[in-house]
């Protein structure tokens, strides 16, 4: 029950995109389609789970003064490892997400959760927090990517819903990212009452 509430907390109550408004660069930069958004979300989730786990394991060994640099080293190593694994096993995805993979290092969500959650809780809870926040981020990115894909190209996950000729191309381009996210946040806040 406790773990379930940690999960739920990450997905809804502290949703990184809709509530905490963190990690906006990848949110806007990689959501030109639902698949791209989902890949970015999952990549971030992988780093988040491992960084939460490792940091909560080693938290008692780290002196307070070098806390942040140590966290950054751990996160940066995980991101580099992820980068190499993606290059090796999912080169297509790696190519689409490009620069945003190394930039997971400076995603405020990761360092924020390390500081706010993993540094104060045990390894198991931290893993669940990573999964919850990661899922919340993935859902938000997939949703935004899906909306932009439908409005922009008339497709969803690559399946044609209506002719591309009627699509509003603007939503695939940069301005559409901002506008779609703005309305999405407004709608989510209204419906979820958060």
């Amino acid at each position: 029950m406790k773990y379930l509430s940690i999960l739920w907390n990450g997905i809804l109550k502290e949703n990184p995109t809709f509530v905490l408004l963190l990690g906006m660069c990848p949110t806007l930069g990689t959501t030109s389609s639902a698949v791209n958004g989902m890949s970015m979300g999952l990549a971030t989730m992988a780093v988040l789970i491992f960084s939460n786990f490792i940091i909560s394991c080693i938290k008692s060994l780290i002196p307070d003064q070098v806390r942040i640099p140590s966290y950054i080293v751990v996160i940066a190593s995980l991101v580099t490892a992820l980068q190499m694994f993606m290059q090796a096993y999912t080169p297509e995805v790696y190519k689409t997400l490009g620069l945003f993979i190394p930039l997971i290092v400076v995603n405020c969500i990761i360092l924020g959760r390390a500081e706010a959650f993993a540094a104060k809780h045990g390894p198991v809870e931290s893993i669940f927090d990573g999964i919850g926040i990661g899922l919340g981020f993935t859902i938000a990115l997939t949703l935004l990517g899906g909306i932009r894909e439908i409005l922009g190209t008339g497709k969803l996950f690559g399946t044609t819903l209506y002719s591309e000729n009627y699509g509003m191309l603007l939503f695939v381009l940069a301005p559409g990212a901002f506008i779609a996210l703005g309305y999405l946040i407004a709608i989510v806040k209204k419906t979820a009452k958060i």
Binding site: P63, S70, A76, S77, M84, F85, Y89, P91, G167, V172
Partner: protein, 211 residues
């Protein structure tokens, strides 16, 4: 406290070195496979074996890579002036110089507009260039007096794409003329396109609007 930070850094670097070693193989394999798949696609076969790889430069000093395989020749060429930057294509040629197939390797064009180049010029599509021979007539968009339909609202991308294809052709023709001359065979077929004629048509400054 510095010890702890140093220790963490050393462990991290060690772990990364291990992961790097572990993934180096698959990354290389991937690159080779992507290239092989690209060559197969543009030549319309499934088992082309690269026999010779040659790197030359076009008139502007951009690299052109010629892959001679047992099933035909594929040429990789770039045009630096697409709408969003560099546009890189791989084009397969039949013996007489007509285009067998192409694929866009790398581009930074506008999603939904210029990015359509991957499909637009394929067989049966509006801008079909398959089977055309750039040696008989340089490929240019209809706006510039050519006979290829440009991608709707993306003239600049289309021009850049066709320039890259033309560059690829000239490199191919130059290379095969050379090979023919070396082997003593008749170079008649390619005589009209000697290597020094490798030029890139200038794009006119007008009509630069896209979107």
């Amino acid at each position: 406290m510095l010890c702890v930070l140093t220790l963490i850094s050393v462990i991290a670097a060690g772990a990364l070195a291990y992961v790097n070693k572990m993934t180096a193989g698959p990354i290389e394999e991937n690159k080779a496979r992507t290239l092989a798949e690209g060559i197969n696609t543009v030549l319309g076969v499934s088992d082309a074996q690269v026999q010779e790889t040659k790197e030359v430069e076009d008139a502007n000093g951009n690299p052109v890579i010629i892959y001679a395989t047992d099933k035909g020749v594929a040429v990789q060429a770039i045009d630096p002036n697409g709408f969003g930057g560099k546009l890189s294509v791989l084009v397969g040629f039949a013996d007489e110089g007509s285009i067998k197939g192409y694929t866009v390797l790398e581009h930074a064009e506008t999603p939904g507009l210029g990015a359509k180049a991957g499909d637009w010029f394929q067989k049966g599509q509006k801008g079909d260039i398959i089977g055309k021979n750039p040696g008989e007539k340089e490929l240019t968009v209809s706006k510039d007096g050519g006979d290829v339909d440009a991608i709707t609202a993306s003239t600049i991308t289309s021009r850049a794409f066709l320039r890259a294809v033309n560059v690829a052709f000239h490199a191919y023709a130059g290379a095969s003329a050379q090979a023919d001359a070396q082997s003593g065979a008749s170079a008649q077929q390619h005589a009209k396109v000697a290597p020094e004629e490798v030029t890139v048509p200038e794009v006119s400054a007008e009509g630069q609007s896209q979107n």
